[in-house]
């Protein structure tokens, strides 16, 4: 519920900011007046018409996803891509609606404003969202496996105030540790059902015990829990994997190291 409300606020503020940034570009270009040669109301109608389509494009890039890191360059690239799309849609809409064209420099300014302005807003809003979701443990997360990888992951999730809040750890072989960074080790996998219910787990992150993947996934499917698995469970520890598609089927790929540009064509 809390996350839903925050997402709605985020979408609405994005929409308003997109329109506001275009208006800013208009006033910077035309001057802080309501010009009769290039009327603001036409400009406003066109941008208001385009804004929802631009927002849909941004949603499709999963820029609002829980797992998406807003300050990552990839998110910046997606927002930039949508900014180009917004500019193109605006030009076309304005032309179709009013049959005339206007300042090209305004379009360039609007593009940069929406790219960087919205990216900055996304980074700020992510901070608010994470603080809210983390503080209220909206997504209690179960970690399976006591390993160095799981320790590092817990520390990172806590440091970054990730919405996925680790609340319990289970280990198939039984761990002597009582807790990892304050997260209690609650026993072996026989405690799974109990922990899933007691802690109202929403996400399960498997960090080891590959042989139990099917059963962990089965428990997650039955209880409507999101299942996440670390690549290290499969022995991929160098962080050079990527998720690809092979004939439409999702696959995890680890390619041999080569020049950076090979990445584009492998």
């Amino acid at each position: 519920m809390r996350h839903g409300v925050l997402i709605i606020i985020w979408l609405l503020t994005d929409l308003l900011l997109f329109i506001a940034l275009y208006a800013l570009a208009y006033f910077l270009r035309v001057g802080f007046i309501f010009s009769t040669d290039f009327p603001f109301d036409r400009f406003f109608i066109a941008i208001t018409f385009v804004a929802p389509f631009w927002l849909i494009a941004l949603i499709i890039t999963r820029a609002f996803s829980l797992m998406r890191r807003q300050r990552h360059w990839r998110t910046g690239a997606y927002i930039g891509f949508c900014a180009i799309l917004g500019t193109a849609l605006f030009s076309l809409s304005y032309y179709f609606l009013f049959g005339i064209f206007f300042s090209r420099l305004l379009l360039v300014e609007a593009f940069f404003f929406t790219w960087f302005g919205l990216w900055l807003w996304h980074i700020l809003f992510e901070k608010i969202l994470r603080t809210q979701l983390h503080a209220h443990s909206v997504y209690p997360t179960l970690i399976v496996g006591v390993t160095r990888e799981s320790g590092k992951l817990i520390a990172l999730l806590q440091k970054e105030k990730n919405p996925l809040t680790p609340v319990a750890i289970l280990d198939a072989r039984g761990s002597k540790e009582k807790d990892i960074f304050g997260v209690p080790v609650k026993g072996k996998l026989d405690m799974l059902e109990h922990v899933l219910e007691e802690d109202r787990i929403t996400h399960l992150i498997q960090c080891s015990n590959l042989e139990q993947s099917l059963n962990l996934l089965s428990a997650c499917r039955q209880q409507g829990i999101t299942y996440i698995v670390l690549p290290s469970v499969f022995g991929i520890v160098e962080r050079d994997e990527r998720v690809d598609r092979l004939e439409g089927q999702p696959v995890t790929t680890v390619s041999p190291k080569g020049p950076w540009w090979e990445w584009l064509f492998q």
Binding site: K188, L189, D190, E211, L214, N215, S218
Partner: protein, 322 residues
């Protein structure tokens, strides 16, 4: 004589098969492992099954299979592995709580033994502790058990070592013993120090220069502690072939080794090898090797080997595009 079956373990190595049932209630040849033990115990003997709070209810249900037997379910109030009393601790608690003043025949509920209990009882000399031992033929394997070295009479125990690093013998103690009533105070005292070391009580008897007798047997014995031993026990008890409940639906089933199919299950166009399918499962277009599939699973288009699947697992492989 009182019969005590220990069934208080949480069987974490057999998870997820033990998620909803205790290890002694796992099916073996059409009935729970513990039922094989009950059937060997003299009909009029009082039997106590000691279990934990997590499985208490399922043992109460199981007890209804024996309306004419004197079976009591003793529940220790533990719900997880780290809370448990330990096997010897559970025995001591039961002796104290129930004021037992009799010889006790102790059995571990997750063991399958092939010998007859009347033969075992014939070897019991009143007042002398007796344990059943089996030669597993491998000293390497014997490191996981209590090993027994006998005197020349092949009956009296010379030494007992619990899980030795370098076993002197491959004759190992099984989960079957008799403790005479006069030695119960020693058991209670020892349990305070080592509540989890049930085999250690024989070391303690020998340390106190108390004679211990051994009944060696050749018949099969399985300590069902892991997926491998459970499957081994099923294969040995049932032999090759398909063992199925009467209302199973099967079509184009190819099998090798031992295959068990539980009630109300459907198996179609599948190849199974040394696999156990519990009740209400649907298996289609699958290749399963050395798998144990719990109740209510649906598997379609899967190839699996050496897997235990939990109750209600649904794995339906999406077809690859042509």
């Amino acid at each position: 004589m009182q019969y005590l079956i220990l069934a208080g373990g949480f069987a974490t190595r057999l998870w997820p098969l033990t998620e909803k049932r205790a290890k002694p209630l796992l099916p073996l040849g059409g009935k729970p492992v513990i039922t094989h033990l009950i059937e060997k115990i003299p009909f009029d003997a009082p039997i106590t099954v000691s279990t934990n709070a997590a499985y208490g209810e399922s043992f109460q249900k199981w007890k209804h299979d024996f309306p004419n037997r004197q079976i009591t379910i003793a529940v220790e109030q533990t719900r997880s592995d780290h809370e448990k009393l330990g096997a010897l601790g559970a025995v001591a608690q039961w002796i104290t709580n129930e004021h037992i003043d009799d010889d006790i025949f102790i059995l571990t509920g997750d063991n399958y033994v092939g010998f007859s209990f009347s033969d075992f009882l014939k070897h019991y000399t009143p007042g002398i502790p007796l344990l059943a031992a089996h030669d597993i033929g491998s000293k390497e394997e014997a490191r996981h058990f209590g090993t027994v070295v006998l005197h020349e009479d092949n009956k009296t125990v010379r030494s007992f070592e619990e899980k030795p690093a370098e076993p002197k013998t491959s004759l190992v103690s099984t989960g079957c013993s008799i403790i005479p009533k006069k030695e119960l105070p020693i058991l209670i005292e020892f349990a305070k120090q080592k509540p989890d070391n049930i085999g250690g009580i024989f070391e303690e008897f020998l340390r106190r220069r108390i004679h211990v007798h051994c009944f060696s047997f050749q018949e099969p014995w399985f300590d069902i502690g892991s997926f491998d031993t459970y499957l081994q026990a099923i294969i040995a008890v049932l032999g090759p072939g398909v063992e199925q409940a009467p209302d199973v639906h099967r079509e184009e089933l190819h099998y090798e080794g031992t295959v068990v199919i539980g009630a109300h299950s459907h198996v179609k166009r599948s190849h199974l090898r040394d696999t156990v399918i519990f009740e209400n499962c649907i298996i289609e277009d699958c290749v399963l090797e050395r798998c144990v599939i719990d109740n209510n699973c649906i598997l379609k288009g899967m190839d699996l080997s050496d897997k235990m699947l939990r109750d209600g697992t649904r794995l339906i492989a999406r077809k690859l595009r042509d």
